[in-house]
Protein backbone atom coordinates (compact mmCIF):
# COMPACT_ATOMS: atom_id res chain seq x y z
CA UNK A 1 0.00 0.00 0.00
CA UNK A 2 1.36 3.35 -0.99
CA UNK A 3 0.65 6.45 1.06
CA UNK A 4 1.42 9.74 -0.61
CA UNK A 5 2.13 12.55 1.78
CA UNK A 6 1.06 15.78 0.15
CA UNK A 7 2.75 19.03 1.03
CA UNK A 8 2.16 21.09 -2.07
CA UNK A 9 -0.78 21.89 -4.35
CA UNK A 10 1.45 21.31 -7.36
CA UNK A 11 1.66 17.65 -6.39
CA UNK A 12 -1.90 17.14 -7.57
CA UNK A 13 -1.11 18.76 -10.90
CA UNK A 14 2.07 16.87 -11.67
CA UNK A 15 2.13 14.25 -14.39
CA UNK A 16 4.27 11.83 -12.42
CA UNK A 17 2.62 11.37 -9.07
CA UNK A 18 5.07 9.00 -7.38
CA UNK A 19 8.10 6.78 -7.90
CA UNK A 20 6.05 3.82 -9.03
CA UNK A 21 4.62 5.89 -11.87
CA UNK A 22 8.06 6.98 -12.98
CA UNK A 23 9.41 3.43 -12.86
CA UNK A 24 6.65 1.63 -14.75
CA UNK A 25 6.06 4.29 -17.38
CA UNK A 26 9.84 4.56 -17.81
CA UNK A 27 10.04 0.82 -18.35
CA UNK A 28 7.20 0.95 -20.86
CA UNK A 29 8.87 3.85 -22.63
CA UNK A 30 12.19 2.03 -22.92
CA UNK A 31 10.49 -1.14 -24.16
CA UNK A 32 8.58 0.84 -26.80
CA UNK A 33 11.61 2.85 -27.89
CA UNK A 34 13.58 -0.35 -28.30
CA UNK A 35 10.72 -2.17 -30.06
CA UNK A 36 12.37 -2.25 -33.52
CA UNK A 37 15.19 -4.22 -31.87
CA UNK A 38 13.07 -6.89 -30.22
CA UNK A 39 9.88 -7.03 -32.25
CA UNK A 40 9.32 -9.07 -35.38
CA UNK A 41 7.81 -7.45 -38.48
CA UNK A 42 4.48 -8.93 -37.56
CA UNK A 43 4.54 -7.48 -34.03
CA UNK A 44 5.69 -4.12 -35.42
CA UNK A 45 2.65 -3.96 -37.68
CA UNK A 46 0.40 -4.74 -34.73
CA UNK A 47 2.10 -1.99 -32.72
CA UNK A 48 1.50 0.50 -35.56
CA UNK A 49 -2.18 -0.29 -35.47
CA UNK A 50 -2.30 -0.13 -31.67
CA UNK A 51 -0.83 3.38 -31.76
CA UNK A 52 -3.20 4.52 -34.50
CA UNK A 53 -6.23 3.13 -32.73
CA UNK A 54 -5.01 4.58 -29.44
CA UNK A 55 -5.00 8.08 -30.93
CA UNK A 56 -8.50 7.55 -32.24
CA UNK A 57 -9.41 6.07 -28.86
CA UNK A 58 -8.17 9.20 -27.10
CA UNK A 59 -10.38 11.27 -29.38
CA UNK A 60 -13.46 9.18 -28.77
CA UNK A 61 -12.67 8.98 -25.06
CA UNK A 62 -12.62 12.78 -24.79
CA UNK A 63 -16.04 12.92 -26.42
CA UNK A 64 -17.79 9.86 -25.02
CA UNK A 65 -15.82 9.08 -21.90
CA UNK A 66 -15.36 12.60 -20.59
CA UNK A 67 -18.02 14.79 -22.19
CA UNK A 68 -20.64 12.08 -22.21
CA UNK A 69 -21.67 12.56 -25.86
CA UNK A 70 -22.01 9.30 -27.73
CA UNK A 71 -20.86 9.07 -31.32
CA UNK A 72 -21.59 6.18 -33.66
CA UNK A 73 -20.02 8.00 -36.56
CA UNK A 74 -16.37 8.31 -35.70
CA UNK A 75 -15.27 6.23 -38.66
CA UNK A 76 -16.40 9.21 -40.75
CA UNK A 77 -13.83 11.45 -39.04
CA UNK A 78 -11.28 8.70 -39.57
CA UNK A 79 -12.21 8.79 -43.26
CA UNK A 80 -11.98 12.57 -43.46
CA UNK A 81 -8.50 12.44 -41.91
CA UNK A 82 -7.38 9.57 -44.13
CA UNK A 83 -8.61 11.09 -47.39
CA UNK A 84 -7.26 14.54 -46.56
CA UNK A 85 -3.87 13.04 -45.85
CA UNK A 86 -3.95 10.81 -48.93
CA UNK A 87 -4.95 13.62 -51.29
CA UNK A 88 -2.41 16.07 -49.92
CA UNK A 89 0.40 13.52 -49.83
CA UNK A 90 -0.31 12.46 -53.39
CA UNK A 91 -0.19 16.15 -54.32
CA UNK A 92 3.28 16.34 -52.78
CA UNK A 93 2.53 18.43 -49.70
CA UNK A 94 5.02 17.94 -46.83
CA UNK A 95 3.89 15.60 -44.06
CA UNK A 96 3.82 18.21 -41.28
CA UNK A 97 1.44 20.35 -43.32
CA UNK A 98 -0.74 17.50 -44.51
CA UNK A 99 -1.28 15.92 -41.10
CA UNK A 100 -2.03 19.34 -39.60
CA UNK A 101 -4.58 19.89 -42.34
CA UNK A 102 -6.03 16.42 -41.74
CA UNK A 103 -6.50 17.29 -38.07
CA UNK A 104 -7.88 20.76 -38.73
CA UNK A 105 -10.25 19.71 -41.49
CA UNK A 106 -11.49 16.78 -39.46
CA UNK A 107 -11.94 19.11 -36.49
CA UNK A 108 -13.93 21.53 -38.67
CA UNK A 109 -16.21 18.70 -39.77
CA UNK A 110 -16.48 17.79 -36.09
CA UNK A 111 -17.78 21.26 -35.34
CA UNK A 112 -20.41 20.92 -38.06
CA UNK A 113 -21.55 17.61 -36.58
CA UNK A 114 -21.35 19.07 -33.08
CA UNK A 115 -23.82 21.83 -33.85
CA UNK A 116 -26.93 19.64 -34.12
CA UNK A 117 -25.55 17.65 -31.19
CA UNK A 118 -26.24 20.66 -28.99
CA UNK A 119 -29.92 19.85 -29.22
CA UNK A 120 -29.69 16.06 -29.24
CA UNK A 121 -29.05 13.73 -26.36
CA UNK A 122 -28.42 10.04 -25.82
CA UNK A 123 -29.99 7.75 -28.36
CA UNK A 124 -30.97 10.63 -30.68
CA UNK A 125 -27.39 11.81 -30.85
CA UNK A 126 -26.29 8.24 -31.55
CA UNK A 127 -28.69 8.06 -34.49
CA UNK A 128 -27.67 11.48 -35.82
CA UNK A 129 -23.97 10.58 -35.78
CA UNK A 130 -24.80 7.22 -37.33
CA UNK A 131 -26.54 9.03 -40.16
CA UNK A 132 -23.52 11.29 -40.53
CA UNK A 133 -21.32 8.23 -40.92
CA UNK A 134 -23.50 6.92 -43.73
CA UNK A 135 -23.55 10.32 -45.44
CA UNK A 136 -19.77 10.67 -45.41
CA UNK A 137 -19.37 7.13 -46.68
CA UNK A 138 -21.77 7.89 -49.54
CA UNK A 139 -20.03 11.17 -50.40
CA UNK A 140 -16.68 9.41 -50.62
CA UNK A 141 -18.14 6.64 -52.75
CA UNK A 142 -19.86 9.09 -55.16
CA UNK A 143 -17.22 11.79 -55.47
CA UNK A 144 -15.34 9.75 -58.01
CA UNK A 145 -13.12 12.50 -59.40
CA UNK A 146 -11.64 13.31 -55.99
CA UNK A 147 -11.65 10.06 -54.06
CA UNK A 148 -11.66 7.41 -56.72
CA UNK A 149 -15.06 6.23 -55.52
CA UNK A 150 -15.57 2.61 -54.59
CA UNK A 151 -12.37 1.57 -56.37
CA UNK A 152 -10.51 3.41 -53.61
CA UNK A 153 -7.20 5.18 -53.89
CA UNK A 154 -3.64 4.30 -53.04
CA UNK A 155 -1.62 6.45 -50.68
CA UNK A 156 1.93 7.49 -51.37
CA UNK A 157 4.31 5.85 -48.96
CA UNK A 158 5.65 8.25 -46.39
CA UNK A 159 9.07 6.86 -45.60
CA UNK A 160 11.78 4.90 -47.35
CA UNK A 161 14.67 2.94 -45.96
CA UNK A 162 17.53 5.39 -45.35
CA UNK A 163 21.15 5.14 -44.36
CA UNK A 164 22.00 6.91 -41.11
CA UNK A 165 25.67 6.78 -40.10
CA UNK A 166 26.16 3.61 -42.05
CA UNK A 167 23.15 1.81 -40.51
CA UNK A 168 20.12 1.08 -42.56
CA UNK A 169 16.98 2.39 -40.86
CA UNK A 170 13.92 0.49 -42.03
CA UNK A 171 10.92 2.46 -43.30
CA UNK A 172 8.88 0.40 -40.89
CA UNK A 173 10.89 1.61 -37.88
CA UNK A 174 10.65 5.22 -39.00
CA UNK A 175 6.92 4.97 -39.30
CA UNK A 176 6.87 3.25 -35.91
CA UNK A 177 8.65 6.15 -34.22
CA UNK A 178 6.36 8.62 -35.97
CA UNK A 179 3.30 6.79 -34.63
CA UNK A 180 4.84 6.51 -31.18
CA UNK A 181 5.69 10.21 -31.06
CA UNK A 182 2.23 11.28 -32.23
CA UNK A 183 0.56 8.93 -29.74
CA UNK A 184 2.61 10.38 -26.88
CA UNK A 185 1.90 13.96 -28.02
CA UNK A 186 -1.84 13.32 -28.35
CA UNK A 187 -1.92 11.56 -24.99
CA UNK A 188 -0.11 14.44 -23.28
CA UNK A 189 -2.45 16.96 -24.88
CA UNK A 190 -5.45 15.03 -23.54
CA UNK A 191 -3.95 14.75 -20.06
CA UNK A 192 -3.16 18.47 -20.06
CA UNK A 193 -6.68 19.31 -21.11
CA UNK A 194 -8.15 17.07 -18.44
CA UNK A 195 -6.19 18.68 -15.64
CA UNK A 196 -7.20 22.19 -16.66
CA UNK A 197 -10.55 24.04 -16.66
CA UNK A 198 -11.64 22.81 -20.09
CA UNK A 199 -11.36 19.16 -19.09
CA UNK A 200 -13.27 19.83 -15.90
CA UNK A 201 -15.99 21.56 -17.89
CA UNK A 202 -16.25 18.43 -20.08
CA UNK A 203 -16.65 16.21 -17.03
CA UNK A 204 -19.22 18.64 -15.63
CA UNK A 205 -21.27 18.40 -18.82
CA UNK A 206 -21.07 14.61 -18.68
CA UNK A 207 -22.30 14.36 -15.09
CA UNK A 208 -24.94 17.10 -15.00
CA UNK A 209 -25.61 19.53 -17.80
CA UNK A 210 -27.92 21.61 -15.70
CA UNK A 211 -25.48 22.26 -12.92
CA UNK A 212 -22.61 22.69 -15.36
CA UNK A 213 -24.47 25.57 -16.96
CA UNK A 214 -25.34 27.00 -13.55
CA UNK A 215 -21.62 27.00 -12.74
CA UNK A 216 -20.94 29.13 -15.79
CA UNK A 217 -20.04 26.44 -18.33
CA UNK A 218 -21.22 27.48 -21.78
CA UNK A 219 -22.76 24.19 -22.90
CA UNK A 220 -22.82 25.04 -26.61
CA UNK A 221 -19.20 26.15 -26.65
CA UNK A 222 -17.78 23.23 -24.70
CA UNK A 223 -19.80 20.55 -26.45
CA UNK A 224 -18.70 21.90 -29.83
CA UNK A 225 -15.14 22.10 -28.56
CA UNK A 226 -15.29 18.52 -27.41
CA UNK A 227 -16.56 17.40 -30.80
CA UNK A 228 -13.84 19.37 -32.55
CA UNK A 229 -11.02 18.01 -30.39
CA UNK A 230 -12.33 14.50 -30.68
CA UNK A 231 -12.66 14.76 -34.45
CA UNK A 232 -9.22 16.32 -34.81
CA UNK A 233 -7.56 13.48 -32.88
CA UNK A 234 -9.49 10.96 -34.95
CA UNK A 235 -8.34 12.81 -38.07
CA UNK A 236 -4.71 12.42 -37.01
CA UNK A 237 -5.38 8.73 -36.45
CA UNK A 238 -6.99 8.57 -39.89
CA UNK A 239 -3.99 10.17 -41.56
CA UNK A 240 -1.64 7.59 -40.03
CA UNK A 241 -4.10 4.85 -40.91
CA UNK A 242 -4.04 5.91 -44.56
CA UNK A 243 -0.26 5.57 -44.63
CA UNK A 244 -0.31 2.28 -42.81
CA UNK A 245 -2.80 0.50 -45.04
CA UNK A 246 -1.51 2.35 -48.16
CA UNK A 247 -4.87 1.89 -49.88
CA UNK A 248 -8.14 3.42 -48.73
CA UNK A 249 -11.66 2.88 -49.94
CA UNK A 250 -15.11 3.74 -48.53
CA UNK A 251 -15.75 0.23 -47.22
CA UNK A 252 -13.06 0.70 -44.57
CA UNK A 253 -15.07 3.48 -42.97
CA UNK A 254 -18.46 1.88 -42.58
CA UNK A 255 -20.76 1.77 -39.60
CA UNK A 256 -19.02 -1.41 -38.49
CA UNK A 257 -15.76 0.52 -38.22
CA UNK A 258 -17.51 3.09 -36.05
CA UNK A 259 -18.82 0.38 -33.78
CA UNK A 260 -15.32 -1.05 -33.59
CA UNK A 261 -14.11 2.37 -32.42
CA UNK A 262 -16.79 2.70 -29.77
CA UNK A 263 -15.90 -0.84 -28.69
CA UNK A 264 -12.36 0.35 -27.99
CA UNK A 265 -13.67 2.93 -25.58
CA UNK A 266 -16.17 0.68 -23.83
CA UNK A 267 -13.90 -2.36 -23.55
CA UNK A 268 -10.96 -0.25 -22.45
CA UNK A 269 -12.88 1.51 -19.74
CA UNK A 270 -15.05 4.51 -20.29
CA UNK A 271 -13.75 7.64 -18.58
CA UNK A 272 -10.07 6.67 -18.47
CA UNK A 273 -7.41 7.57 -21.02
CA UNK A 274 -5.65 4.30 -20.14
CA UNK A 275 -8.79 2.61 -21.37
CA UNK A 276 -8.26 3.94 -24.90
CA UNK A 277 -4.86 2.23 -25.08
CA UNK A 278 -6.00 -1.01 -23.42
CA UNK A 279 -9.05 -1.10 -25.68
CA UNK A 280 -6.90 -0.67 -28.79
CA UNK A 281 -4.57 -3.47 -27.70
CA UNK A 282 -7.59 -5.67 -27.15
CA UNK A 283 -9.22 -4.87 -30.45
CA UNK A 284 -6.00 -5.50 -32.39
CA UNK A 285 -5.17 -8.72 -30.57
CA UNK A 286 -8.67 -10.20 -30.59
CA UNK A 287 -8.91 -10.82 -34.37
CA UNK A 288 -5.54 -12.57 -34.23
CA UNK A 289 -6.81 -14.80 -31.44
CA UNK A 290 -9.97 -15.49 -33.43
CA UNK A 291 -8.00 -16.53 -36.50
CA UNK A 292 -5.88 -18.80 -34.35
CA UNK A 293 -9.03 -20.26 -32.83
CA UNK A 294 -10.41 -20.82 -36.33
CA UNK A 295 -7.55 -23.17 -37.12
CA UNK A 296 -8.45 -25.25 -34.09
CA UNK A 297 -12.12 -25.43 -34.83
CA UNK A 298 -13.23 -28.35 -36.99
CA UNK A 299 -14.01 -27.58 -40.62
CA UNK A 300 -17.45 -26.05 -41.11
CA UNK A 301 -17.84 -25.09 -37.46
CA UNK A 302 -16.09 -21.76 -37.91
CA UNK A 303 -18.70 -19.44 -39.41
CA UNK A 304 -17.58 -16.66 -41.69
CA UNK A 305 -18.99 -13.98 -39.40
CA UNK A 306 -17.13 -15.36 -36.40
CA UNK A 307 -15.27 -12.11 -35.78
CA UNK A 308 -18.42 -9.98 -35.66
CA UNK A 309 -20.10 -12.53 -33.39
CA UNK A 310 -17.18 -12.60 -30.95
CA UNK A 311 -16.94 -8.79 -30.98
CA UNK A 312 -20.61 -8.43 -30.17
CA UNK A 313 -20.46 -11.08 -27.48
CA UNK A 314 -17.42 -9.54 -25.81
CA UNK A 315 -19.05 -6.11 -25.87
CA UNK A 316 -22.23 -7.42 -24.26
CA UNK A 317 -20.35 -9.39 -21.63
CA UNK A 318 -18.26 -6.36 -20.71
CA UNK A 319 -21.27 -4.08 -20.42
CA UNK A 320 -22.98 -6.57 -18.11
CA UNK A 321 -20.07 -7.74 -15.98
CA UNK A 322 -17.45 -5.02 -16.14
CA UNK A 323 -18.93 -1.67 -17.14
CA UNK A 324 -15.64 0.04 -16.37
CA UNK A 325 -13.84 -2.13 -18.88
CA UNK A 326 -10.31 -3.45 -18.82
CA UNK A 327 -8.96 -0.48 -16.92
CA UNK A 328 -11.69 -0.80 -14.30
CA UNK A 329 -10.75 -4.46 -13.94
CA UNK A 330 -7.11 -3.50 -13.51
CA UNK A 331 -8.03 -0.95 -10.81
CA UNK A 332 -9.80 -3.72 -8.93
CA UNK A 333 -6.86 -6.10 -9.28
CA UNK A 334 -4.51 -3.37 -8.10
CA UNK A 335 -6.72 -2.58 -5.11
CA UNK A 336 -6.81 -6.29 -4.30
CA UNK A 337 -3.04 -6.57 -4.38
CA UNK A 338 -2.49 -3.36 -2.43
CA UNK A 339 -4.97 -4.21 0.28
CA UNK A 340 -4.25 -7.92 0.51
CA UNK A 341 -5.69 -9.57 2.58
CA UNK A 342 -8.27 -6.92 3.41
CA UNK A 343 -10.03 -6.54 0.07
CA UNK A 344 -13.81 -6.75 0.29
CA UNK A 345 -15.99 -7.93 -2.55
CA UNK A 346 -18.34 -4.97 -2.37
CA UNK A 347 -15.66 -2.30 -2.48
CA UNK A 348 -16.32 -1.22 -6.02
CA UNK A 349 -20.04 -1.75 -6.02
CA UNK A 350 -21.55 1.35 -7.47
CA UNK A 351 -23.43 3.50 -5.02
CA UNK A 352 -27.02 4.27 -5.66
CA UNK A 353 -27.52 7.83 -6.84
CA UNK A 354 -29.62 9.69 -4.35
CA UNK A 355 -32.78 11.40 -5.45
CA UNK A 356 -31.48 12.07 -8.90
CA UNK A 357 -34.61 13.10 -10.69
CA UNK A 358 -35.34 14.50 -14.06
CA UNK A 359 -37.30 17.27 -12.49
CA UNK A 360 -35.20 20.11 -13.80
CA UNK A 361 -34.51 18.69 -17.20
Amino acid sequence: MRFIFKTDYEQDIRLVKHGGHAFWYGLLGVALLAAPLWASDYVMTQLHFIFIYSIVGFGLMMLTGYTGQISLGHAAFLAVGAYTEALMQNAGVPFVVSITCAALFSGAVGIIVGLPALRLKGIYLAIATLAFNVIVEEIIARWHSLTGGNEGMSVKSLVQNVQVLGYEVQADSQFYYLCLALTVICCLACINLLRSPTGRAFVAIRDSEISASCMGVNLAKYKTMSFAISAALTGIGGALYAHKVAFISPEQFTLFASIELITIVILGGIGFLHGAVLGSVFIIVLPQLISIAKDWLPEGLAPTGLQAIVFGLVLILFIIFEPLGLYGRWLKIRAYLELFPFYRRGMFRRQRAYLKTDRLR
Binding site: Y9, E10, D12, I13, A189, N192, L193, R195, S196, P197, T198, G199, R200, A201, V203, A204, R206, D207, S208, I210, S211, A212, S213, C214, M215, G216, V217, N218, L219, M225, G271, R350, Q351, A353, Y354, L355, K356, T357, R359, L360
Partner: protein, 254 residues
Protein backbone atom coordinates in the same frame (compact mmCIF):
# COMPACT_ATOMS: atom_id res chain seq x y z
CA UNK B 1 -30.26 51.24 -7.39
CA UNK B 2 -31.39 47.99 -5.90
CA UNK B 3 -29.16 44.96 -5.54
CA UNK B 4 -31.57 42.41 -6.91
CA UNK B 5 -35.20 42.58 -7.82
CA UNK B 6 -37.84 40.47 -9.45
CA UNK B 7 -40.55 42.52 -11.13
CA UNK B 8 -43.79 40.76 -11.87
CA UNK B 9 -42.05 37.63 -13.09
CA UNK B 10 -44.28 34.80 -14.18
CA UNK B 11 -44.33 31.64 -16.23
CA UNK B 12 -46.97 29.22 -17.32
CA UNK B 13 -46.55 25.76 -18.79
CA UNK B 14 -49.38 25.29 -21.23
CA UNK B 15 -52.48 26.21 -19.25
CA UNK B 16 -50.82 25.77 -15.86
CA UNK B 17 -49.73 29.04 -14.30
CA UNK B 18 -46.73 28.02 -12.18
CA UNK B 19 -45.72 31.50 -11.11
CA UNK B 20 -47.98 34.50 -11.62
CA UNK B 21 -46.33 37.92 -11.44
CA UNK B 22 -44.20 37.66 -8.32
CA UNK B 23 -42.45 40.84 -7.23
CA UNK B 24 -39.81 41.27 -4.56
CA UNK B 25 -36.62 43.15 -3.94
CA UNK B 26 -33.47 42.22 -2.05
CA UNK B 27 -30.89 44.38 -0.36
CA UNK B 28 -27.21 43.64 -0.50
CA UNK B 29 -26.08 41.42 2.36
CA UNK B 30 -29.42 40.09 3.56
CA UNK B 31 -30.85 36.61 3.77
CA UNK B 32 -34.19 36.52 2.02
CA UNK B 33 -36.32 33.39 2.23
CA UNK B 34 -39.20 32.22 0.10
CA UNK B 35 -41.60 29.86 1.84
CA UNK B 36 -44.81 28.25 0.73
CA UNK B 37 -46.61 24.92 0.53
CA UNK B 38 -45.57 22.30 -2.01
CA UNK B 39 -46.25 23.37 -5.56
CA UNK B 40 -46.35 27.04 -4.64
CA UNK B 41 -43.75 27.81 -7.33
CA UNK B 42 -40.68 28.37 -5.16
CA UNK B 43 -38.24 26.30 -7.16
CA UNK B 44 -39.76 27.64 -10.35
CA UNK B 45 -38.78 31.15 -9.26
CA UNK B 46 -35.22 29.90 -8.80
CA UNK B 47 -35.32 28.44 -12.27
CA UNK B 48 -36.59 31.76 -13.63
CA UNK B 49 -33.73 33.61 -11.92
CA UNK B 50 -31.19 31.07 -13.18
CA UNK B 51 -32.72 31.35 -16.66
CA UNK B 52 -33.28 27.60 -16.75
CA UNK B 53 -36.74 28.60 -17.97
CA UNK B 54 -37.19 31.94 -19.65
CA UNK B 55 -39.82 33.96 -17.81
CA UNK B 56 -42.92 34.48 -19.92
CA UNK B 57 -43.49 37.87 -18.36
CA UNK B 58 -41.83 40.36 -16.04
CA UNK B 59 -38.20 41.24 -15.46
CA UNK B 60 -35.41 40.06 -13.23
CA UNK B 61 -32.79 42.70 -12.52
CA UNK B 62 -29.42 42.05 -10.87
CA UNK B 63 -27.35 45.15 -10.06
CA UNK B 64 -29.26 47.18 -12.65
CA UNK B 65 -28.69 44.56 -15.28
CA UNK B 66 -31.74 42.97 -16.85
CA UNK B 67 -31.28 39.19 -17.01
CA UNK B 68 -33.98 38.71 -19.66
CA UNK B 69 -32.71 36.79 -22.65
CA UNK B 70 -29.49 35.59 -21.03
CA UNK B 71 -28.51 31.94 -20.89
CA UNK B 72 -27.78 30.12 -17.62
CA UNK B 73 -24.01 30.33 -17.95
CA UNK B 74 -24.16 34.10 -18.47
CA UNK B 75 -26.16 34.44 -15.27
CA UNK B 76 -23.49 32.41 -13.49
CA UNK B 77 -20.81 34.67 -14.97
CA UNK B 78 -22.47 37.64 -13.26
CA UNK B 79 -21.93 36.01 -9.89
CA UNK B 80 -25.20 34.24 -9.19
CA UNK B 81 -24.60 30.71 -7.94
CA UNK B 82 -27.14 28.15 -6.85
CA UNK B 83 -27.67 24.79 -5.23
CA UNK B 84 -30.37 22.32 -6.15
CA UNK B 85 -33.10 20.76 -4.10
CA UNK B 86 -32.23 17.28 -5.33
CA UNK B 87 -28.46 17.70 -5.46
CA UNK B 88 -26.94 17.99 -8.90
CA UNK B 89 -23.29 17.23 -8.24
CA UNK B 90 -20.78 15.79 -10.66
CA UNK B 91 -21.04 12.24 -9.37
CA UNK B 92 -18.00 10.70 -10.99
CA UNK B 93 -15.61 13.40 -9.90
CA UNK B 94 -13.94 13.98 -6.55
CA UNK B 95 -15.09 16.62 -4.08
CA UNK B 96 -12.04 18.67 -5.00
CA UNK B 97 -12.87 18.52 -8.72
CA UNK B 98 -16.45 19.48 -8.02
CA UNK B 99 -15.34 22.58 -6.17
CA UNK B 100 -12.83 23.39 -8.90
CA UNK B 101 -15.62 23.35 -11.46
CA UNK B 102 -17.28 25.93 -9.24
CA UNK B 103 -14.30 28.14 -10.09
CA UNK B 104 -15.13 27.95 -13.79
CA UNK B 105 -16.24 31.55 -14.06
CA UNK B 106 -12.78 32.64 -12.91
CA UNK B 107 -10.91 30.80 -15.64
CA UNK B 108 -8.57 32.99 -17.64
CA UNK B 109 -6.53 30.56 -19.74
CA UNK B 110 -7.05 29.81 -23.42
CA UNK B 111 -7.44 26.37 -24.97
CA UNK B 112 -3.99 26.31 -26.59
CA UNK B 113 -2.36 27.14 -23.29
CA UNK B 114 -4.20 24.30 -21.64
CA UNK B 115 -3.25 21.83 -24.38
CA UNK B 116 0.40 22.63 -23.70
CA UNK B 117 -0.13 23.15 -19.97
CA UNK B 118 1.99 26.29 -20.03
CA UNK B 119 3.38 27.80 -16.81
CA UNK B 120 0.48 30.29 -16.88
CA UNK B 121 -2.00 27.42 -16.63
CA UNK B 122 0.03 25.82 -13.86
CA UNK B 123 0.04 29.05 -11.87
CA UNK B 124 -3.68 29.58 -12.48
CA UNK B 125 -4.40 26.05 -11.27
CA UNK B 126 -2.57 26.69 -8.00
CA UNK B 127 -4.46 29.95 -7.52
CA UNK B 128 -7.79 28.17 -8.12
CA UNK B 129 -6.74 25.44 -5.74
CA UNK B 130 -5.97 27.97 -3.02
CA UNK B 131 -9.40 29.53 -3.43
CA UNK B 132 -11.02 26.10 -3.24
CA UNK B 133 -9.03 25.16 -0.15
CA UNK B 134 -10.49 28.18 1.61
CA UNK B 135 -13.96 26.83 0.95
CA UNK B 136 -12.87 23.35 2.09
CA UNK B 137 -11.63 24.87 5.35
CA UNK B 138 -14.77 26.92 5.78
CA UNK B 139 -17.10 23.95 5.34
CA UNK B 140 -14.80 21.42 7.03
CA UNK B 141 -14.67 19.18 3.96
CA UNK B 142 -10.95 18.36 4.27
CA UNK B 143 -11.41 14.68 5.01
CA UNK B 144 -13.61 14.17 1.94
CA UNK B 145 -11.35 16.14 -0.40
CA UNK B 146 -10.30 13.22 -2.60
CA UNK B 147 -13.46 11.12 -2.28
CA UNK B 148 -15.68 10.50 -5.26
CA UNK B 149 -19.02 12.20 -4.77
CA UNK B 150 -20.78 8.98 -5.80
CA UNK B 151 -19.72 7.37 -2.53
CA UNK B 152 -20.56 10.17 -0.12
CA UNK B 153 -23.50 10.23 2.29
CA UNK B 154 -26.39 12.55 1.53
CA UNK B 155 -25.60 15.09 4.23
CA UNK B 156 -22.05 15.55 2.97
CA UNK B 157 -23.22 15.93 -0.62
CA UNK B 158 -25.48 18.75 0.46
CA UNK B 159 -22.45 20.52 1.96
CA UNK B 160 -20.33 19.81 -1.12
CA UNK B 161 -22.99 21.41 -3.26
CA UNK B 162 -22.99 24.46 -1.03
CA UNK B 163 -19.20 24.46 -1.31
CA UNK B 164 -19.31 24.30 -5.09
CA UNK B 165 -21.58 27.34 -5.18
CA UNK B 166 -19.33 29.19 -2.71
CA UNK B 167 -16.19 28.31 -4.67
CA UNK B 168 -17.47 30.50 -7.48
CA UNK B 169 -17.29 33.47 -5.07
CA UNK B 170 -20.88 34.47 -5.80
CA UNK B 171 -22.43 37.79 -4.96
CA UNK B 172 -25.89 36.28 -4.86
CA UNK B 173 -26.29 32.74 -3.60
CA UNK B 174 -29.50 30.82 -4.29
CA UNK B 175 -30.11 27.94 -1.90
CA UNK B 176 -32.92 25.57 -2.84
CA UNK B 177 -34.02 23.86 0.37
CA UNK B 178 -30.60 23.68 2.03
CA UNK B 179 -31.91 21.56 4.92
CA UNK B 180 -34.02 19.03 3.02
CA UNK B 181 -32.94 15.52 3.91
CA UNK B 182 -30.61 16.64 6.69
CA UNK B 183 -30.84 15.46 10.30
CA UNK B 184 -31.25 18.04 13.11
CA UNK B 185 -27.51 18.39 13.76
CA UNK B 186 -26.71 18.81 10.09
CA UNK B 187 -29.50 21.37 9.81
CA UNK B 188 -27.95 23.19 12.76
CA UNK B 189 -24.57 23.23 10.98
CA UNK B 190 -26.27 24.51 7.84
CA UNK B 191 -27.80 27.37 9.84
CA UNK B 192 -24.38 28.33 11.21
CA UNK B 193 -22.91 28.27 7.73
CA UNK B 194 -25.65 30.40 6.24
CA UNK B 195 -25.11 32.95 9.02
CA UNK B 196 -21.35 32.88 8.39
CA UNK B 197 -21.82 33.20 4.64
CA UNK B 198 -23.84 36.32 5.24
CA UNK B 199 -21.68 37.80 7.99
CA UNK B 200 -18.12 36.81 7.09
CA UNK B 201 -18.24 36.29 3.36
CA UNK B 202 -20.73 39.10 2.78
CA UNK B 203 -22.73 37.08 0.29
CA UNK B 204 -26.40 37.88 -0.21
CA UNK B 205 -28.53 34.76 0.13
CA UNK B 206 -31.88 33.94 -1.46
CA UNK B 207 -33.26 30.75 -0.01
CA UNK B 208 -36.21 28.45 -0.43
CA UNK B 209 -36.87 26.53 2.76
CA UNK B 210 -39.51 24.52 4.58
CA UNK B 211 -37.90 24.20 8.01
CA UNK B 212 -39.44 27.17 9.83
CA UNK B 213 -36.89 27.01 12.68
CA UNK B 214 -34.08 27.45 10.20
CA UNK B 215 -36.02 30.17 8.38
CA UNK B 216 -36.71 32.10 11.57
CA UNK B 217 -33.11 31.76 12.68
CA UNK B 218 -31.26 32.99 9.60
CA UNK B 219 -33.65 35.07 7.51
CA UNK B 220 -33.90 38.82 7.57
CA UNK B 221 -37.05 38.85 5.49
CA UNK B 222 -39.47 36.24 4.28
CA UNK B 223 -41.79 36.04 1.29
CA UNK B 224 -44.66 33.58 1.39
CA UNK B 225 -46.00 32.15 -1.85
CA UNK B 226 -49.07 30.15 -2.60
CA UNK B 227 -50.27 28.88 -5.96
CA UNK B 228 -47.68 30.97 -7.77
CA UNK B 229 -48.58 34.29 -6.17
CA UNK B 230 -47.08 36.10 -3.21
CA UNK B 231 -49.36 36.31 -0.20
CA UNK B 232 -47.20 37.92 2.50
CA UNK B 233 -43.83 39.57 2.96
CA UNK B 234 -41.99 40.78 6.06
CA UNK B 235 -39.96 39.56 9.03
CA UNK B 236 -40.13 35.82 9.77
CA UNK B 237 -42.44 36.34 12.75
CA UNK B 238 -44.79 38.63 10.81
CA UNK B 239 -45.12 36.23 7.92
CA UNK B 240 -45.65 33.22 10.17
CA UNK B 241 -48.50 34.98 11.92
CA UNK B 242 -50.07 36.34 8.73
CA UNK B 243 -53.63 34.99 8.29
CA UNK B 244 -53.17 34.27 4.58
CA UNK B 245 -50.08 32.17 5.33
CA UNK B 246 -51.86 30.21 8.05
CA UNK B 247 -54.69 29.62 5.63
CA UNK B 248 -52.34 28.46 2.86
CA UNK B 249 -50.72 25.87 5.11
CA UNK B 250 -53.65 24.78 7.26
CA UNK B 251 -56.67 25.61 5.15
CA UNK B 252 -59.21 28.33 5.88
CA UNK B 253 -62.49 28.16 7.73
CA UNK B 254 -64.93 26.11 5.70
Amino acid sequence: MSFFRVEGAGISFGGVVAVDSVTFEMKRGEVFTIIGPNGAGKTTIFNLIGLIYPASKGRIVFEDRDLTGMSPHQVAELGIARTFQNIELFEHATVLQNLLIGRHRHRRTALWQELLFTPAVRRAEVVQREAVEKVIDFLELAKYRDNLVAGLPYGVRKVVELGRALASEPRLLLLDEPSSGLNPEETDDMAFWIEDIKRHLGVTVLMVEHDMNLVARVSDRVLALNLGASIAEGSPAEVQAHPAVVEAYLGGPA
